[in-house]
C-alpha cells in the first residue's frame, strides 16, 4: 500500500499527542493492524526508523500487533478466524459472511518519558 504516507501519518499522530506535554522522548508506539488491512509491516518499521530522526519519536520502538480476520456466518451462525485467501464458512461452506475484525489500522498507545 502506501507505507511512507502511512508512517508520516503515524508520526503526525505521535507529534500531536505529545504536544503541550513535557516529554523527553517517546519510548514506544503501539499499533494494531488487521490482517485484511493490506499494510506491509516491514515497510512501516523501515520508514519509521528513517522518518522519526530528529523528532521526539527518534529511537522509539514501533510495536506492531496483528489482528486476525474474524468473521460471522450470517447463514449458520458460525464465527471465528478466516484465512484471507479462502473466504468461506468452514461449517456450512456458505459465503454470506460478516467481517467482525481485520480491517483495523490504528495507534493503540504511545509510551513516553
Amino acid at each position: 500500500m502506501h507505507e511512507l504516507a502511512l508512517t508520516q501519518s503515524i508520526l503526525h499522530i505521535v507529534e500531536e499527542a505529545v504536544k503541550g506535554h513535557e516529554v523527553q522522548r517517546v519510548k514506544e508506539v503501539r499499533l494494531k493492524i488487521g490482517d485484511y488491512s493490506g499494510v506491509v509491516t516491514e515497510s512501516l518499521t523501515y520508514y519509521f526508523g528513517l522518518l522519526s530522526r530528529d523528532t521526539p519519536a527518534q529511537d522509539a520502538v514501533l510495536k506492531l500487533e496483528k489482528l486476525p480476520i474474524l468473521m460471522t456466518c450470517r447463514d449458520c451462525g458460525w464465527s471465528g478466524e478466516i484465512n484471507k485467501h479462502h473466504i468461506e464458512c468452514p461449517q456450512c461452506r456458505g459465503i454470506n459472511l460478516r467481517l467482525d475484525q481485520g480491517r483495523e489500522f490504528y495507534v493503540e498507545s504511545i509510551e513516553v518519558e
Partner: protein, 215 residues
Amino acid sequence: MHQVMEWNEDVSDAVKRELGSHQVCLMNVLGSPGAGKTSTIVELIARLRDKYRIGVIEGDITGTIDAETIDKLGLPVVQLDTDGACHIEAMSIQHILPHFNLDELDVLMVENIGNLVCPAEFNIGESFRLALLSIPEGDDKVEKYPLIFSTSDALALNKYDLKEYFGFDDARVERNAKAANPDISVFRVSSRTGEGLDELTAWVDGKIAAALGRA
C-alpha cells in the same frame, strides 16, 4: 486511539458534507486500465443526462485523453492529473471542487486511476462505488484483489460479449464478490453491444436518487 488513515477520512467526510450542502452526490468508478471505465461513464451519461445534471472528474496519471472524450458530450469535466500517483485522495477532490458550479450539478462521476489496489483504500467523499472488471482480465481477479470488491456497492462485468472467447466463469466471480461483500450487486454489461446497460443504469439511478433524498 487514532486511525492512521484519518487524514484522508477527515477530508473525505468534509468533501461529502460540502457536496451534500449543494445537493450533489459523488459516484466513485474504479477498475483496471482498459476495464472500460470511460466508456461505461459515457453510456451512463447518455441514459441519465435528461434526469440529472452530471459533472465528471477524470483521474489520470498524466494526459487528457479521457477528459477530451467527456468534453465532447458538452458536460462540465475537469481532468485530475495525479502526476504519477496511483490513486485519487480526498484532498485532490477537495481542491478540484471549486472548478465546478455545484449548484448546477446533481451528480459528480469520478473516474479513478486505473488500478485494482490503491484506489480501494481511499474514500473520496463518495456516496457509492461502482467497480468494473472486464472479461479479458480473467475470472480470478476478485480472489486476487478482494479489497476493491469488498468496498464497492456494485460490480459490473464489462465486455460481457467476450465471455465465450475467454472462457470466463462469471458464477465464480459472482460467488467471490459476494464472499468479499454480501451486499454487492453484480451486473453483466457490454458498452459495445449495450447488453445489461439498462439494468446498470437503473441501479445507478436508484443510488443517486437515494443519495439525493429523492427516492
